[in-house]
Symmetry: D2
Subunit: 278 residues, 4 copies
Amino acid sequence: MTRLEPTIDPLALLGAGANVMDLSRPMVLGMPQSPNHPEFRLSMPRRHGDVVRADGGSAANDLLISGTHVGTHIDALGHVSHCGSLFGGVDAEAAQIGGRLSSHGVEEIPPIVGRGVLLDVAALYGTGPLPGGYEITPADLDESLRRTGTVIGPGDSVLIRSGWGQHWDDGESYLGATSGVPGIGEAGARWFAERRPVALGADTIAFECLAPARGHALLPAHRVLLVEHGIYIIETMALEELAAVGATEFALVVAPLHLVGATGSPVRPLAVLAADRG
Amino acid sequence: MTRLEPTIDPLALLGAGANVMDLSRPMVLGMPQSPNHPEFRLSMPRRHGDVVRADGGSAANDLLISGTHVGTHIDALGHVSHCGSLFGGVDAEAAQIGGRLSSHGVEEIPPIVGRGVLLDVAALYGTGPLPGGYEITPADLDESLRRTGTVIGPGDSVLIRSGWGQHWDDGESYLGATSGVPGIGEAGARWFAERRPVALGADTIAFECLAPARGHALLPAHRVLLVEHGIYIIETMALEELAAVGATEFALVVAPLHLVGATGSPVRPLAVLAADRG
Amino acid sequence: MTRLEPTIDPLALLGAGANVMDLSRPMVLGMPQSPNHPEFRLSMPRRHGDVVRADGGSAANDLLISGTHVGTHIDALGHVSHCGSLFGGVDAEAAQIGGRLSSHGVEEIPPIVGRGVLLDVAALYGTGPLPGGYEITPADLDESLRRTGTVIGPGDSVLIRSGWGQHWDDGESYLGATSGVPGIGEAGARWFAERRPVALGADTIAFECLAPARGHALLPAHRVLLVEHGIYIIETMALEELAAVGATEFALVVAPLHLVGATGSPVRPLAVLAADRG
Amino acid sequence: MTRLEPTIDPLALLGAGANVMDLSRPMVLGMPQSPNHPEFRLSMPRRHGDVVRADGGSAANDLLISGTHVGTHIDALGHVSHCGSLFGGVDAEAAQIGGRLSSHGVEEIPPIVGRGVLLDVAALYGTGPLPGGYEITPADLDESLRRTGTVIGPGDSVLIRSGWGQHWDDGESYLGATSGVPGIGEAGARWFAERRPVALGADTIAFECLAPARGHALLPAHRVLLVEHGIYIIETMALEELAAVGATEFALVVAPLHLVGATGSPVRPLAVLAADRG
């Protein structure tokens, strides 16, 4: 059972109605995904007409193959280790015996139903995306937060818009292997950690700043957030529409699949906005 | 964008806080699943220590293989056809060319954020599950609804508790191949269709009444709901805890994965209850 | 390059022609397979008509998911470890870093093109299968070999017929969870190891004797053969036809898939018999 | 049962020994494969140490996911249709009901144990590969065959070396999306069809000539061979070593996996050469 923060009740924003905004990317063969993870593929083993029941009924079904860090997804704490340890000093080697996590798996993430805040860092610098490889600074975060006119409290989820999602339809640009990808680094991660959010999200595939042509050489923000502070990370989010309507506070719902022992899960994050927004 | 029904605002139930209840079953190798669908399996292609970054960081990841009608899941309208047609008279053969649905795929389901109602049919007859093969009648539904002291309105989601979920930990009993499984039939489906819910859910694997030793010979409720009335079906839900706290009305959130062209999706349905419940 | 034993040339048996006998089981969804291994499943992501080329051509293709110890298959030496070591004292932990074997993977098995010998142990006791749980003794092996009128030399492959393959069409019987399964045990494995064959095969799913209702509690023959002596094991072979024609010596061809780092591979073993046999 | 051609007995080439040459490519994540087919991936769900038996024994196993036209593989006749028909006029739509081929599946290919002939077309033009997009002509085939000093008879298998296999280690070059790929076209296919081989193989991914930057726009050789003449096609073969030893005639063994209803299968083709070759 997850308790909403009583002092910050985004659901009270809802009056006679609400708008629900989908923050996920469509999952389809060939979409941008990290080469570190198994390819997303959906096949249809049974089609309509393959088996027809006596009354004329028939059913089609699917076979899904995918990494769990593919499409819009959330990282469980056990996704990353540092010097052999997971969050809270859990021994990574011991936790993974049997081929699934006995500790810090994605099923331990309480479904998120709480206050969300959008930090539109890209908007500080114009209308387009931040440049590839740009590291979002604590000063950027301060200024973005100031513009929202609100604060970040413990248990909130914060979504960081770099504008990089505008590259989604061009897979190679989105992956940014040569250009790098904008995002926070270690300093930004520590800025957030002080504010004790439950989760952070971004509109990029690896969440954090990737230097040009370096790949995922180092992932310091993952270390700070997942390993040191137990803060979940949501990647590959669709944040353009949320920014376009000027949303800064909303109810955020993220319900990872109930995959026992998994290191992550594809998700369909939803922002619930007051009826007069969106 | 999904608009909540203005006349029935479950979110207004929420005062200074809320309780979030998980209505999904844990997904694990060997859990009960229909033999018609690909086996759920999670593997860990990369474990901690396989690749270690220069700073001592390492990551583990997963490979997920599954049917989309496995674990707690939602049926897209295109899952079932009748005499060659999907909902709205869409030609099933044409819709499935290319091996995924070009119409009525699961990505067309608007994420559900709305009012949920629990009909505890099992409670009419005692504390245990309804018997295998029992067909829930319209009279049962009338009486269950009467006990809630509320009504079902257009756009609501209704969850039908048969108590069969008490068999979850015994896979063979839960599948009910020889015993049959309780649920609604054609008459019950028509009772619901008149009330125009957006979705119906149940605590069984196939949603509807299965006669003993007949398998999935006929699925009339699927036809009535998916093909004739465009009402989504959610299966394999965990409803015992919801019933135990006496919940009858709540906010229901169901966010199917964004699987373009799929016939269904595993989901993690959440009931949001007023702070003094659950 | 594998060199046939010059002193034993089964290919010289071949005169103006040869008969090729398939020693594999058909791979189909639902066939008997060990619950320890991923389910075999073949899906058709693309069907004829999904994409049609300008000239009227179209193609269908498949998606294969399977364990590698499923259907008729061969075990690589790295499949089994004992007290942390693989064959030759290789450290199992080190060999599996990265999620595939860097040593003793199936790609290290030289394709087998050599002399095969059939030991028809079942025929010692009648026409049906040996009983479930029966452990084939060295005396059985001596007598079976005597009946063939030949010897087993270094580099040969020996196929052991228990008759259990007659249960193939009844999956539960074939798996033998309650009945046990006949096969050699530690003593039989040592009997073979002295004769230095390159591979041993059998018509059962786990090759060795399984006591009733014990599952795969212990697998001593795997230890003796794979770990101590570097002898490959072929399981789930179809040997009934070979026995029916009275074949005792033949050329055996087993070409594992070229799966780098795998612990095993499905195979299609072929017996090539002289033209007047079979 | 497949009968070797009595008039051409490659096995008679074998004297006191034989050399076995592997004509397959190693299957590994990231190897060149056609984007039309599911990605090859091998995962290790169970590693040594995950489960340890009472005696200290442990086992590792694999999960294989792959297209069946991936790595070195053979095309079943049912892989390609023309204007709705498979070989022999079989209706493609009817044959694929149920999601696997009821006719012309890969299990209908009799395992190939017969005479193989290598046509080294690349050697006509020098030591490197033929140029991308080069269509091998009937004149090329005539001249290549003349150089072998032998003939092609009914039931033989013929392997066509374009030299393109020298690009194997550079995946993009090997796929040849921009350069095109050398191979036979419709005229070459008809040249072969007259000689009634059982199978043709090549060292390229799609067997036939691909024009630069055209992809698999048209596949006329597939039509002529698979649909019109019932001749199997083997792709992505490793032929460099065979050519290097000057082999022109040999025993060829190709044993497709016993995949019921599949459109193709990965294979490990073997050339068995006389003892003094290779």
